[in-house]
């Protein structure tokens, strides 16, 4: 060995692998929350590392809003097949049809908040005691206070003022019937770390992250993709632009940025030069200063 220390990416990787193995050892029925976004892809990749040469011992749980990028769904299906893991889908459409939730109205309506009910229902139905997420503490101020092992009561709620202290790397996943945990193996990663890691490991990601031509409309300071769900007002106009997405969520709320970055190298360079946070293009976070905190308390990802 040439050096007797780990570099920062190796250390973050090792930490995440350790956390994933703790999950497997401490819970009965853990799943990976899989959105098709880069963070959940990286978590899935890390799970491969953690259990190699065994298969990933977790199912993937996708909360499907019905407002997907078709590219994301194809990516998800291909990945599930190549890994040989089980896929669970919680459908927001079904939650709407069965009257569990009702749809928001108007131009800025999204299904973002509706996912909470679908997610909690899926957790209950499948008797999931741990949902592994790709959340990172650098994303948002409410997330900066999140634990690796985050306890949820039997209503699925997060109580930020009453979190279990987390010391050293001794994770306490003990819980009572009906409660569950959210675990965030890449808590300590930043957006830049995720991209550097994707590049170093050459991890496959959906084509949406690379610059491509697309029909879009300018709304809330970003380029919203045209889709069957898009409602235009009088002043809005569909145009053709070369864009890429920094984060992936619902097709209705995920804004793209103009970019020519069509390779991982170019994306890493572009992200390094960015002057705005990645969630700056997400209208779900723009609703109020505490939008994320409020949703998290109710049981959001």
């Amino acid at each position: 060995m040439s050096k007797y220390y780990l570099d920062y990416l190796e250390e973050l990787e090792s930490e995440a692998v350790y956390v994933l193995r703790e999950v497997w050892a401490q819970f009965q029925n853990p799943v990976i929350l899989f959105s098709g976004g880069k963070d959940s892809i990286v978590v899935t990749h890390l799970a491969q590392k953690a259990f190699h040469p065994s298969k990933i011992p977790f199912a993937l749980l996708h909360v499907d809003t019905g407002h997907n990028f078709p590219e994301t769904i194809k990516f998800r299906n291909d990945l599930v097949q190549s890994l040989g893991v089980r896929l669970l889908v919680g459908s927001v459409q079904e939650s709407i049809d069965t009257g569990r939730v009702s749809e928001e109205k108007g131009k800025n309506a999204t299904r973002n908040a509706l996912q909470i009910t679908t997610l909690l229902d899926a957790i209950e139905e499948n008797k999931i005691d741990c949902a592994i997420g790709g959340g990172r503490r650098d994303e948002e101020k409410a997330r900066a206070k999140e634990r690796f092992f985050s306890h949820r009561d039997d209503f699925g709620q997060w109580d930020p003022k009453n979190q279990r202290p987390e010391l050293w790397n001794l994770f306490n996943g003990k819980h009572f019937e009906g409660e569950h945990f959210r675990v965030f193996p890449i808590s300590n990663w930043t957006e830049m770390d995720v991209w550097n890691y994707i590049k170093r490991e050459n991890i496959q990601i959906p084509s949406l992250y690379f610059a491509h031509e697309r029909e879009v409309v300018w709304r809330n300071d970003s380029w919203i993709p045209n889709s069957e769900f898009l409602q235009l007002d009088d002043r809005e106009e569909i145009v053709q632009k070369k864009i890429r997405f920094r984060t992936l969520g619902d097709i209705t709320i995920t804004g793209g940025i103009e970019s020519n970055a069509d390779t991982l190298e170019k994306i890493v360079d572009e992200v390094a030069a960015m002057r705005h946070t990645e969630r700056g293009n997400r209208s779900d976070d723009k609703r109020s200063e505490t939008a994320m905190e409020d949703r998290k308390k109710q049981g959001y990802f």
């Binding site: 007797y4 570099d7 953690a50 409410a142 987390e166 010391l167 390094a272 705005h276 505490t290």
Partner: protein, 417 residues
């Protein structure tokens, strides 16, 4: 970014109004780690609150209650990167009642920044912060004497505070203490060298953080490998594979090393050290790997694989420095689950030997009830042996937590004496 960059975790401690949030804001701002939308957001808030200019402290504001009350409730983690290093800040609140948070933030830190207000000098809280940093064995302490602008950048103030700090810190076990006079508000000696304090010859804070020598802080002598789980793929290609998955706590393991599995005492030889990218000849802390042995012996989660010529002690009776983290005090004869590496046993506090008066650092034997934020030396009895090293020698194999079986809450953190 250079590929071989290391990660440095540090914690910040200061009393209310010592300017801790401003310092962190300044570090992030001057190292260009703040995005424009974040800056706009706090510019707006600064204006709404009627502040002059941008209040950098707002960067670290978190939850709604905290913003409304202007305090920090919980440990918050912040990230920034320079061309030399990646940093993780555990930002812990300074109020008296939050010893628990400081202990939490300190548990994984390579370095601690302790803030002292230049106008007030070393106060009881400073001593408490330094004590906790030494208790948690943070290898490097950087004392930032802040608000130097309010004492006319006077060198004698700096020397006076340095002397005050050194006087009481000589009683603590800290390997490396440094002092830096700063003004977080104006940016002096944070990222950029101060023009107002030419008399200070040392490095500014960021440069200090970038160059602290941390590779030697890891214990490279005592090879310890707690087993997290056993990998048995039973697939075509790996039919007889039996790998012990875990993360190296300390020391170095090499293929061919003679090892002992504790507590069973069986011995074998390391056959391979595996990762998904292929086998390695040797592994160091804190690498996560899968280890296979030459002999087919019984190994399970909770066991520890160690080099046969250097073993930890297997103990059922432990003396532990315990920090109580829960609102409800410990009642006598309560049974706990103790977690130590991947090992879990039942435990009972047999005796509280003394309590440390956190303000005077004196030992008290008259009051031995364990309540929130108390730090005590206790005798612990476990149902089965734990394979421990002293915390001073090994922060991973010397640390434990106690979980109350009735509530499942983590109620105490302990360091093996």
């Amino acid at each position: 970014m250079v590929d071989n960059n290391q990660l440095l975790r540090f914690t910040t401690a200061g009393s209310v109004d010592d300017g801790k949030s401003t310092l962190i804001g300044r570090l992030l701002y001057d190292s260009k780690s703040i995005f424009e939308d974040q800056l706009e957001a706090i510019e707006n808030t600064s204006r709404k609150k009627g502040h002059e200019g941008v209040d950098l402290a707002l960067f670290t504001d978190g939850l709604r209650d905290e913003r409304e009350q202007g305090i920090t409730i919980d440990v918050a983690y912040r990230y920034f990167t320079t061309p030399k290093r990646k940093f993780i800040i555990a930002d812990t609140p300074g109020h008296i009642q939050y010893t628990r948070n400081m202990v939490t933030g300190a548990s994984t830190a390579n370095a601690a920044i302790i803030l002292v207000d230049a106008r007030h000098g070393v106060i009881e809280q400073t001593k408490r912060h330094a004590f906790i940093a030494s208790l948690l064995q943070i290898p490097h302490i950087i004392v930032c004497i802040n608000k130097m602008d309010l004492v006319d950048f006077d060198e004698s103030v700096y020397h006076k505070i340095t002397a005050q700090f050194e006087e009481f810190s000589s009683k603590l076990l800290v390997k490396d203490i440094r002092f830096i006079p700063i003004s977080a508000l104006l940016g002096d000696n944070v990222v950029n060298r101060s023009e107002n304090m030419g008399w200070y010859q040392g490095a500014p804070l960021l440069h200090t953080l970038e160059t602290l020598h941390i590779s030697s802080d890891l214990n490279k002598v005592d090879a310890r490998f707690p087993v997290q789980t056993v990998l048995r793929p039973q697939s075509e290609t790996f039919r007889d594979y039996r790998g012990y998955a875990g993360r190296v706590s300390s020391g170095i393991f090499r293929v061919g090393d003679e090892v002992t599995v504790m507590p069973s005492g069986f011995t074998s030889t390391i056959k391979s050290l595996d990762t998904i990218s292929g086998p390695l000849d040797e592994v160091i802390a804190p690498m996560s790997i899968s280890m296979t042995l030459e002999d087919d012996i019984d190994v399970a989660r909770g066991d520890m694989i160690v080099r046969s010529n250097n073993k930890p002690e297997a103990k059922q009776d432990l003396e532990v420095m315990l920090c109580w983290l829960n609102d409800s005090p410990a009642s006598p004869r309560t049974k706990f689950t103790v977690k130590h590496t991947s090992n879990e046993q039942k435990a009972m506090i047999k005796e509280v030997i003394y309590k440390i008066d956190i303000n005077t650092l004196r030992r008290r034997t008259d009051d031995v009830e364990l309540g929130m934020n108390d730090i005590c030396k206790v005798k612990l009895r476990t149902t089965k042996p734990l394979m421990v090293d002293s915390y001073r020698e090994n922060r991973v194999t010397g640390s434990i937590i106690l979980i109350d079986d009735r509530t499942n809450e983590t109620v105490a953190a302990g360091m093996v004496v």
